[in-house]
């Protein structure tokens, strides 16, 4: 009973601070808009900690944040090895393969309006399918190491990037294309100087969707077979051993990797498409 009261008090306090900040004079400044979600997160973690320790919740059901943090700090070598295996070797390699393949197909298909019309709906349809289910097939073809994960990831990221690139390449006005013609620009010059830059906002949209898909693909594919290293392997074996603190530590790694991957793409977008209205 006291546990619930303390937890609710912490929650109310956090909410009160946030309400003051959100309705305060400087609520739109950068510091405050960053502070509010951080305070919210800290409040949730504090309530979680209080409830788990005071109510003696079994670590099998939900470990305390402190237990997760200490497990995280104590197993950094393991977590780092898993990170390299799953994120760098599996997800990143697959992401690059899928991305390059999507660009090549998009540029080829773009030469024919007929193909473009067919690829857009078929591609969007494929992007909505549960492609992650192909993981057992790829594990069988390419073995259980990272190559099969990269293959799953490549197929998963291919369609969203393809659809967005094809749509982006169509996003120039007749006026702009005519201008390139008056400059006597050939197809490739027009492609590199006008149409690809114009397509960049679309391409980055696709790349951002693909970052999350890449991580999901690499982790979930390891549930179907992997060497004894990797985030998906660690999650599924730790679940089997009821070592939930390890599972949560891996999820923290996945969350950090996911947000920084996304952040890196968003940062790159800001640098490359500085001219676009949404970035100004």
């Amino acid at each position: 009973m006291t546990a619930w009261i303390i937890a609710l008090a912490i929650g109310a306090l956090g909410w009160w601070i946030n309400a003051r900040l959100a309705h305060g004079a400087s609520s739109d400044s950068r510091t405050v808009s960053l502070a509010i979600p951080v305070i919210f997160g800290v409040t949730i973690i504090a309530m979680w900690q209080v409830l788990v320790t005071m109510l003696d919740v079994s670590a099998v059901i939900l470990p305390a944040p402190s237990a997760i943090a200490s497990r995280f700090v104590n197993s950094i070598p393991i977590l780092f090895a898993d990170f390299v295996q799953t994120i760098i070797k599996g997800a990143l390699t697959g992401f690059i393969i899928g991305m390059v393949a999507a660009f090549v197909v998009a540029v080829i298909a773009d030469r024919s309006p007929f193909l473009t019309k067919g690829i857009l709906p078929v591609g969007s349809f494929m992007a909505a399918l549960p492609i992650v289910g192909t993981a057992p097939i790829f594990v069988k073809w390419y073995g259980s190491d990272w190559e099969s994960k990269a293959a799953v990831v490549a197929v998963m990221v291919f369609f969203p990037i393809l659809v967005n690139t094809v749509a982006g390449l169509r996003d120039t006005t007749a006026m702009q294309r005519d201008l390139m013609r008056t400059y006597a620009a050939d197809y490739w010059t027009t492609l590199f100087k006008l149409r690809l830059p114009a397509a960049l906002p679309f391409i980055f949209n696709g790349l951002k969707i693909a970052t999350t898909l890449a991580l999901i693909g690499a982790i979930v594919a390891e549930f179907f077979g992997s060497p004894t290293v990797g985030m998906g392997f660690r999650i599924s074996t730790s679940v089997g051993q009821l070592a939930m603190d390890m599972v949560w530590a891996e999820i923290v790694v996945a969350a950090l990797a996911g947000s920084s991957f996304y952040g890196a793409i968003a940062l790159l977008e800001k640098r490359v498409t500085f001219w676009h209205p949404s970035q100004r």
């Binding site: 959100a22 007929f114 690829i119 078929v122 399918l129 549960p130 069988k140 679940v239 969350a255 952040g263």
Partner: protein, 307 residues
């Protein structure tokens, strides 16, 4: 449908590539099989064949190409084998039998739909809260957006075990995974939608002396519908993926995920492929159902679908 012909062309090309790939993908298996049946194969011993690449082996043994399409346990089943397996497991066995894909589809689908309803309803409620409460907007919205960049699907095995250890089993754990996967896209889309009416429209309602609830029911909610449906379509396919992945790590006995695992573990790739296509068809039907509701709803509301 002016785009029917281009779509058909692209689909035909995909199937043609698939059909062509069957020969090199299966040629090693087929050559071994043919060798055992005393059909002449070059090179003759399996050891030598291992050294030869798939394409050149296929070119040296054009006579056994036909066999690559009819293997029992191929590396890559041909389209007609998958179609036959789909037909067999959908139409020729009773829907209640464990061999029926309809039975497995229903197991997965019921978890998907239950989870989707929970997730979408909770998402809409939270979006209303975010739009009307500044504190909530500032505190929760950044987390809702961040959650889209995190592979939350990786939580699935843990959710199953966590709920299993407090005695919740069967449909509900999978539905919860589906729910949280569809929750965040709906929140983000619905917030955008509820904010889509511009100042002019809100001011107009002010001049009508409309109350807060009236502004919500007559302007914000109708205005949010196109955004809602767009995110519902994302949400329902995420829900299906969640339910399938939820079946994987726990050794579930029924559902698309279980079916894929069975095919994988017992070396019956045709089963895996049929389950995969079953899941794809289900996903397509779910999205199509939402599109249909969208068209009807927006039509009744006098909005035209954005093409």
């Amino acid at each position: 449908m002016r785009s029917a012909l281009p779509i058909a062309t692209v689909v035909v090309v995909i199937f043609a590539i698939w059909t062509a790939a069957v020969v090199p993908m299966n040629i090693h298996l087929t050559a071994d099989l043919a060798g055992r049946q005393d059909i002449a194969v070059t090179p003759e011993t399996p050891r030598e064949r291992q050294e030869v690449g798939a394409i050149s082996l296929a070119l040296q043994n054009t006579s056994i190409w036909g066999m690559t399409y009819t293997l029992d346990r191929p590396n890559l089943p041909s389209p007609h084998q998958v179609a036959a397996e789909l037909y067999k497991s959908v139409f020729t066995v009773a829907p209640t039998s464990r061999r029926s894909l309809i039975y497995h589809a229903w197991v997965t689908l019921s978890a998907t739909l239950l989870g989707f309803l929970i997730g979408a309803a909770a998402g809409i409620l939270l979006a209303v809260g975010i739009v009307y409460n500044r504190t909530m907007d500032k505190a929760v919205m950044p987390w809702a957006i961040t959650s889209q960049t995190i592979p939350i699907l990786a939580l699935a095995p843990m959710v199953i075990v966590m709920l299993g250890s407090i005695g919740v089993q069967g449909l509900l754990p999978k539905a919860i995974i589906s729910a949280y996967l569809s929750f965040f896209p709906v929140v983000v889309g619905m917030v955008k939608g509820l904010r889509s009416p511009d100042h002019m429209q809100l001011d107009l309602l002010h001049t009508y002396n409309a109350s807060g609830p009236q502004a919500f029911w007559k302007l914000r909610l109708p205005g949010s519908m196109p955004y809602l449906f767009a995110s519902l379509k994302i949400g329902i396919s995420a829900s299906l993926v969640g339910a399938i992945v939820g079946e994987l790590p726990t050794g579930a006995r029924a559902g698309f995920g279980a079916r894929m695992l069975v095919g994988d573990q017992y070396g019956q790739p045709i089963l895996t492929w049929a389950a995969l296509f079953g899941a794809a068809i289900t996903a397509a039907l779910l999205v199509a159902a939402i599109s249909l509701i969208e068209r009807k709803t927006l039509g009744r509301m006098g909005m035209r679908m954005a093409a």
